[in-house]
Amino acid sequence: MSSFISIFMLLLPTVVLGMVPRAAPIFAAALGENIDQSAGTLNLGVEGMMLLGTIIGFVIDFKTGDFVLAFIVAGLASALLALLHGIATISFKVDQVTSGTAIWFIGWGLSGFIYSSLFGKASSPPAVKTIPTLYIPHLTDIPYIGKLLFGQDPVVYALFITFLVAQYFLFHTKAGLNLRTVGEDPLVAEIMGVNPDLYRYFALIFGGFMAGVGGAYITLSLVGSFYFDMTAGMGFIAVALVYFGKWNPLRVLIGSLVFGAVYVLYLALETYFPTTPYQFFSMFPYIATLILIILVGARAHAPAALALPYIKEG
């Protein structure tokens, strides 16, 4: 037992420093999904949107070397998928689970297809330079928290700002209240002069963009190259995190950081326990998701109109 504790203490700095970048892609997708679900649309296609983001981000960065452009195009590509989901679920009232699954497949297939079409099945995969860390002078030198808070890459900062904006938007602006109204009861929203379809489209497109950014972050910041199905369920974990976060971005952020820590922890533990089959460590994030989702259970109040199409009468 004491050896476990000592290993834990040993790992603590690694985990704390490493969890932020590991949390970033999940959080990006989860933040988008949070906004989606607050407006009443369940987007299960987020896994496919992230996957599309991984490849589009990679291709653009590989061809142009401009990582900012890469992130934006990746986001837009996934937003396009989200638009498809919107057309099906908002305009055609298709069941959201079915449409989401279809979108997942479309993005999943496209990621592998585009990669293989452009790069073939090369034995040594092409790589891009991962995006640079933005050290903020002096502040990074603050002991313990300096590197954690000020030693991240620019996308992490951008994400944090997006989080602040989203949190403020959802709970402190009129449009945010309107969006949550759409998620609770689209008919009431309509009577009060709020166009439910418009808000749902907006939320979906934002959610798609964020999923694309999250996907691109995996290739461009964490790995530097592309491999097949590299999100490995992160999109679905993001959906789970929204439930865990009870539709509050702040709680979603906390959940994402816990997940970042889980990822770092299992990678680190693998090296400490070389005799234990690595597969058991690889199961960590999925088992953690199961535990997390049990902890939340069904007790939270979900947006009342979540996953229900809005069908007007008359």
Partner: protein, 348 residues
């Protein structure tokens, strides 16, 4: 039955294929040539047709398996994990009992074990739903990933075959040939089991109280409770059946096609029958008999995509997108009223 809907769905699926074919332009392949190759490679050549029928087997079984809880709107996305656990359990008992039992008995034992394996793997999400109200889409999916890693561990670890130890290509030892499912003209006899399962589940859903209660639950949980349905029992039973049948698909694949237990890669669509079963079932409007057709069609598209890969170098991953698009358009085809749109534009 209304004939309009099926025609519309077929129309939209063809539309999806046409749209997919435009993606071939990325690889500088003519969409028309690509579609032609897809059709002939999947359905017309002898080799392609045999492969298509063989792939129909696991696809059909898994799709029928997930239909059962889907009817009750319990979204079991975990077909893949249940399929994997069925194959692990079946392979294990097959290797354990090899030589000590006659082939037919051993195959029966393998089927039973596959059923148990798949059903067991379906239980955690089901019980979590019953006792904690968790979202089954997420839990069943997580179980898939855990199953993939567990399979990986088994094929490299405890169940690693002696040949694999030398070649370092992970797999189990092979099932001895007397215990395998026989083939007729290259087609695995598993096809008869698959068809039988489809028919049995069709009857089960249409003629039993259990099937009726699933339909009630799918329509409205409150109405089902009002009608005296026992939700927990129905949910549990539907998932035992679903997981178990998906497990049988895993067994039939090992005993009929691969002969060894192989690890899986997440992204490899050619082994992801558990995932492909979802669009297969949904496009068939959750009808087990129509699923026979849609499983055959999806399987043909897969083998047609192989042919495109060989002839034109089109990456096989395209087929996943085609599946997605077919599902996407098929469900829009269900919702839309084409007749009305045509009439309206005609009237102007």
């Amino acid at each position: 039955m209304n004939i309009r809907k099926p025609i519309q769905i077929i129309f939209f699926i063809i539309l999806a294929l046409l749209i997919s074919s435009l993606l071939l332009l990325i690889d500088h392949v003519s969409p028309i040539a690509g579609i032609a190759e897809l059709i002939s490679g999947g359905f017309l050549t002898h080799y392609g047709l045999v492969a298509t029928i063989n792939d129909t087997i696991p696809l059909l079984i898994v799709a029928v398996a997930i239909i059962i809880p889907f009817i009750a709107k319990f979204w079991n996305i975990g077909g893949q994990g249940q399929y994997i656990f069925g194959s692990i359990f079946a392979t294990w008992i097959g290797l354990e009992l090899a030589g000590s039992l006659p082939g037919a008995l051993l195959i029966t034992a393998a089927i039973i074990f596959a059923f148990i394996g798949g059903a067991l793997w379906a239980m955690p999400p089901t019980l979590m739903k019953i006792y904690f109200g968790t979202n089954e889409i997420i839990t069943t999916l997580m179980m898939n990933f855990i199953a993939v890693y567990f399979l990986d561990y088994m094929t490299i670890g405890p169940m690693e075959g002696s040949i694999a130890k030398i070649t370092h290509v992970p797999s189990s030892a092979p099932i001895p040939s007397p215990d395998l499912l026989p083939h007729i003209g290259g087609v695995s006899t598993g096809i008869f089991m698959a068809l039988a399962i489809a028919v049995i589940i069709f009857i089960l859903l249409r003629y039993t109280n259990f099937g009726y209660e699933l339909k009630l639950i799918g329509s409205s949980i409150d109405a089902a409770r009002y009608a005296g349905a026992s939700l927990r029992r129905d949910l549990l039973l539907s998932m035992v059946l679903s997981g178990g049948i998906a497990g049988i698909a895993g067994m039939i694949q090992v005993f009929g096609i691969t002969t060894v237990l192989l690890p899986q890669v997440f992204s490899d669509i050619t082994t992801s029958f558990g995932y492909v079963g979802i669009p297969v079932a949904l496009v068939a409007s959750l009808n087990p008999l129509i699923t026979i057709i849609s499983a055959f069609f999806f399987s043909g598209v897969l083998n047609g995509a192989y042919a495109m890969e060989i002839s034109f170098g089109i990456p096989i991953d395209l087929v996943i997108t085609i599946y997605g698009l077919m599902m996407f358009f098929a469900v829009i085809g269900v919702m839309i009223n084409l007749g009305r749109i045509f009439r309206r534009s005609g009237a102007k």
